[in-house]
């Protein structure tokens, strides 16, 4: 299992993502100017502030050569995990439905939250973002719920940003692209309070096995 972790100018979570990936395989960084993913089996678009978050978070990163390669990789069924800014990039690129807006209280939020996966299992994973309010028109929300594309919701009372229907993470229709605002790569060691993030990396690995 070889992971490729994208790195844009302004990324800041690529090191933790590499570490998390290496707990379940090999991993290499992919610089944003690289047009070739080099035969990776899965891709992580990590968190941070790609291109300074200028214009809108993720809006400029989607035009990078590496993201063109990721779009082709995803179209071919390759697994892609977008975390925080990576989720914003994937939404801007049209690889995932919806958009991430400024938090409803205008505050940057940084804390551990409880999530529920599709089968109602709880995960404890940190969030840290200022633009994490998931939004899509009601008709689109109905569709993605009906198709089972809501991968994670904030547990009752835990929604940190005003996300529609408590949505914390969604997949594309095919299910091979997953984006979420919480940071599983920061929850892979008991030292930092939770290892629940490993389950998300293992789920991506499992989908290619």
């Amino acid at each position: 299992m070889l992971w490729g972790v994208l790195q844009f100018p302004g990324s800041c979570d690529e090191r933790d993502a590499l570490h998390a990936c290496r707990l379940s395989g090999e991993a290499r960084l992919v610089w944003h100017e690289e047009r070739d993913l080099g035969g990776v089996d899965a891709v992580v678009v990590p968190g941070g502030f790609s291109y300074g978050d200028y214009l809108r978070a993720g809006a400029i990163a989607r035009f990078s050569p590496a993201m063109e390669a990721v779009a082709e990789f995803a179209a071919g069924g390759g697994p892609v995990l977008g975390i925080c800014n990576g989720f914003q990039v994937l939404c801007e690129a049209g690889l995932l439905p919806g958009a991430l807006l400024v938090n409803d209280d205008l505050r940057f939020v940084c804390r551990q939250v409880e999530l529920l996966d599709e089968v109602g299992e709880r995960l404890s994973i940190p969030v840290k973002h200022g633009e994490g309010r998931y939004w899509a028109p009601d008709s689109m929300l109905d569709e993605i719920e009906a198709r089972g594309q809501v991968a994670f919701r904030y547990a009752p009372g835990q929604n940190p940003n005003g996300s529609a229907r408590n949505i914390a993470g969604v997949t594309n229709e095919a299910g091979n692209v997953l984006g979420l605002m919480p940071h599983p790569e920061h929850a892979v060691d008991p030292l930092t309070g939770s290892t629940d993030g490993l389950r998300i990396f293992e789920a991506v690995t499992g989908s290619t096995a």
């Binding site: 214009l55 809108r56 809006a59 400029i60 035009f63 801007e92 919806g98 958009a99 807006l101 400024v102 938090n103 409803d104 209280d105 205008l106 309010r133 939004w135 899509a136 028109p137 005003g162």
Partner: protein, 72 residues
Amino acid sequence: MLIRPKEGILDPQGKAVERALPALGFEGIEHVRVGRMVELEADDPERLAELCEKLLANPLIEDFEIETIDGA
């Protein structure tokens, strides 16, 4: 280009501005929406709408208007 959040989408920046106004003595102001304006010079204004749709605005969440000023 004038870009603003679509109607019906909560605009927390606009709300924060609106809440601050009465303290400054500005009464009777409602529905504040904060967007952004992009100025540019273009040889071919025909393609500006496409530019807005692809980059300057996110059509899912934002509306845009284009005003051209000739020979500026």
